[in-house]
Symmetry: C2
Subunit: 356 residues, 2 copies
């Protein structure tokens, strides 16, 4: 149990107007959580302080060697005024998996969740309530040693910032066009693909710019070894409904184990659907498309929850799915998960936690 | 040509004592170079200012998505008091290759070199002169947008910091033990391996810690696809002398194109040696070792220049090279390159540039 000191701001910022479009990750609340790590002393000085710039040496390791991890989750306000978090213990667990891979000291799961609850409680009034909005929570750790040797840092900062956010994609639930990437690779077995760390996202930018230039909003990543098995789409996991069966790539070390991915699998199974986690080649998808068995495709992630795929570009061919409209199952999953998150659908899975 | 403003410190720090062991990348000089980038405006406000902390939003992209690049080179003081740089135009070129891969705006090569010359000139008195020492120069760029969307940033900082440094490895030119890694992968074709960016170094930490725990000082990386071809050693390129021939892995997209690598190839060729840049499997090295043809092995990099390899650990076997002593060719290369860098050996290659 952390003993978290709270220093409230004396200069509260103006909150966004009710009808102001929030965008994603652009506006930040009045406070943030910070905790320091020092070798020999461990994690110490947990505190909620006014949101402010960080002052770091230009030699701080994070600027040079990318030793950093992050997480993402959301807080929601229910109609009766409760504040809910969605499966924060999953983020705490994944954070430590990332920490292990990046040689960053671990944080006790209960401390991680307590820190989130504490800072969210302080800035509870910032949680937006318009449809599709929520308070995006960004916990992250950065290496702060003032040293240019390539070694794990001996000092770190664990920080949580909060951002009232609208839909991740400006088009909301409208199906997106996906560019199947056959030049750039996001990650490979043995690398850092299953960790939530800057390097994977930095590596993804060039392909994303290429896809945008071609008029597609996201990239579908193939595996780095054989360049034929589907891994992720943009910064999301991906699902297919093929001939009635729900199929998603199995976690193989280079795919991020998404919390929404896990939730979608559990929900579909609870509805009696067959869910297969296995290797899926791009040829299999193309065959399913050609024979009319590719019924739905959607991405899953915390930011967008569900992002339906309307078309794929694969080499010279464009595959259109569901006439470019959202599928029935995709819509049902979206409604159920967001319903649970907002307290409108009974949470039979025990996924939400109230911040008191 | 940049119009660089110079603001000198009013509180100069104490310089390290002559006989004080400098270490690597631990001490920083009085000044640093900074230049801002803003979309629509380009790179602007180049300036040399007192070395100081950076003040950045906790939402700055570099902390979350690792959009960052760095370079490394050195300045040397000759016996007659000149300040020399070693092939800085190679770093400028490579910086822009990294920038392209990471969607960071490019910097004109001549501006990059001018910025280095200017800040080195200001802190010229910080260049150490004891044997094996030099002024390590670290140019780097970080993404500074206060935004959590995964997109290329629209604002950046280009910074150059300077560090008077001793040998990178505390043991100096003593041959090191290398752990051949068969679990973790550093980079893969299509990824960011040939870019000098944080993500590659973050990915390398876990294997390095494992090697250290086993009593080895560096890791030898195999390719991410077949796990059999040699790529790099630690954060260096690697060379073998096999039966009189110098062999090094060919640049394949996942290997960093080292400036020292390029210099070693040129020198060896100028001495009439055969140099092969090609795929080298770990099996080939093991066979060469078994048949007594593996004559020398060394790593190359700016920080260490030459790092002789004394032994390899490959699964359950340890291969000892040259009885664990430095080889004749490795020593000759080290003496020649450091000799050119210090102005003691005639620079027939035109590699050094004087800072005036």
């Amino acid at each position: 149990m952390l003993d978290i000191k709270i220093v409230k701001t004396t200069k509260p910022k103006e909150k966004p107007k009710k009808d102001h479009p929030l965008g994603f990750g652009k506006i930040f609340t009045d406070h943030m959580f910070i905790m320091n790590y020092t070798e020999g002393k461990g994690w110490h000085d947990p505190r909620v302080v006014p949101f402010d710039n960080l002052s770091l040496s230009p030699a701080a390791m994070v600027f040079h060697y990318g030793q950093e991890m992050f997480e993402g989750l959301k807080a929601y306000k229910t109609e009766d005024g409760k504040t809910l978090l969605f499966r924060p213990e999953m983020n705490a667990k994944r954070a430590n998996n990332t920490n292990k891979r990046l040689c960053i000291p671990e944080i006790k799961e209960e401390d991680f969740v307590q820190a989130i609850k504490t800072v969210v409680k302080v800035d509870e009034d910032w949680i937006p309530t318009a449809p599709g909005t929520s308070l995006y929570i960004r916990p992250f750790i950065i290496a702060t040693d003032e040293f240019l040797g390539v070694n794990p840092s001996k000092t770190y900062l664990f920080i949580i910032i909060l951002s009232p956010s609208g839909a991740y994609y400006e088009s909301g639930l409208a199906p997106v066009g996906i560019w199947i990437e056959d030049e750039y690779v996001r990650a490979v077995r043995g690398g850092i693909g299953e960790a939530k760390t800057g390097g994977n996202y930095a590596a993804s930018l060039a392909a994303q710019v290429k896809a945008h230039d071609e008029g597609f909003s996201q990239v579908l990543w193939l595996d780095g070894v054989e360049r034929k098995y589907i891994e992720e789409v943009g910064a999301m996991n991906i699902f297919f409904k093929i001939d009635g069966v729900v199929v998603t790539p199995q976690l193989n070390g280079s795919i991020l184990p998404g919390v929404t991915r896990d939730s979608v699998i559990a929900l579909c199974k609870s509805w009696g659907l067959t869910v297969e986690e296995r290797k899926i080649s791009i040829d299999e998808i193309y065959d399913a498309y050609k024979t009319g068995k590719l019924e739905e495709v959607w991405g899953t992630g915390t930011a967008a929850v569900i992002s339906p795929v309307g078309k794929f570009r694969w080499k010279d061919e464009v595959m259109t799915i569901q006439d470019g409209k959202i599928g029935e199952l995709s819509q049902k999953i979206y409604d159920t998960i967001t319903g649970i998150q907002l307290g409108k659908v009974t949470d039979t899975m025990n996924w939400t936690i109230e911040v008191k």
